[in-house]
């Protein structure tokens, strides 16, 4: 749960790094521009969360899935994100199952299992 209000903001340094990757080299990002993008990103998280939970509710399920997030993109007219996210989901599933089989082989090695066990 969010204990402080700042917990609902995304770290500015990380946001700058993402922006720098997206833009040609040498472009500067103003302080206000950076805070604006970070705020936009936080609100975007809530926006997709609510679009995705709507899908879950309408189909009378309980748990949110990765596919719901992708379907939510189409619902909020961000269709351009659907294809890249499908790829992300496939990669994620591959990596998650690879990890699962690796960790079941050596059960004592608890190093790699954190993301699977996380609820």
């Amino acid at each position: 749960m969010a204990e402080k209000l700042e917990d609902l903001n995304l770290p500015l340094t990380v946001v700058s790094r993402i922006v720098k990757e997206a833009l040609p080299e040498g472009v500067s990002l103003s302080k206000e521009g950076r805070t604006g993008l970070a705020k936009a990103a936080s609100v975007f998280v809530l926006y997709i969360t609510s679009a995705a939970t709507n899908i879950v509710k309408n189909s009378k399920r309980k748990a949110l899935t990765g596919q719901d997030v992708i379907d939510a993109m189409a619902d909020i007219e961000f269709d351009r994100f659907v294809e890249p996210l499908k790829e992300t989901l496939e990669q994620y599933k591959l990596q998650a199952s690879a990890k699962k089989s690796a960790s079941s082989k050596k059960k004592d090695d608890g190093e790699d299992v954190e993301i699977i066990e996380e609820e």
Partner: protein, 133 residues
């Protein structure tokens, strides 16, 4: 690059999870939807930055982002978060125009259309005023 899926992301999963859970409709967030929401938010930041950059020359500033937000209807959800800034002079002119409009003696007849526009204007002003300082 390692094989760990979380290494492909920049934004911290834990923080994104906190934001998602701040929504009253959400109680548990599994790792798969969390990963996708995080990835998606990164795509969104990159997309918004690139589109805002088209109108900026070499320095991306708040106003370039606000312009994109106001012009694209799919970004409607950001309009109150990232309003366009106006100058104090523009703000005063806006208020002056509004007070003459509000006075029924000065304006002969305002259609209901105009009135509703005025209302949405005044909502935005509150935000814009906060941005001014």
């Amino acid at each position: 690059m390692s094989n760990k899926p979380e290494k492909d992301l920049h934004l911290p999963l834990s923080r994104v999870k906190t934001i998602m859970k701040s929504s009253p409709e959400v109680d548990a967030v599994g790792p798969e939807p969390l990963y996708l929401v995080t990835k998606c938010t990164e795509l969104f930041v990159m997309d918004l930055a690139r589109r805002s950059f088209i109108n900026s020359h070499n320095s991306l500033d708040y106003k370039h982002i606000a312009d994109v937000v106001q012009e694209d209807d799919t970004l409607d959800f950001l309009r109150e978060i990232i309003p366009r800034k106006i100058t104090v002079r523009e703000y005063k002119e806006l208020m002056a125009r509004k007070s003459t409009k509000a006075n029924p003696d000065d304006s002969s007849e305002t259609s209901s259309d105009e009135e509703s526009e005025e209302n949405s204007d005044s909502n935005q002003e509150d935000n814009q005023e906060e941005q001014e300082s």
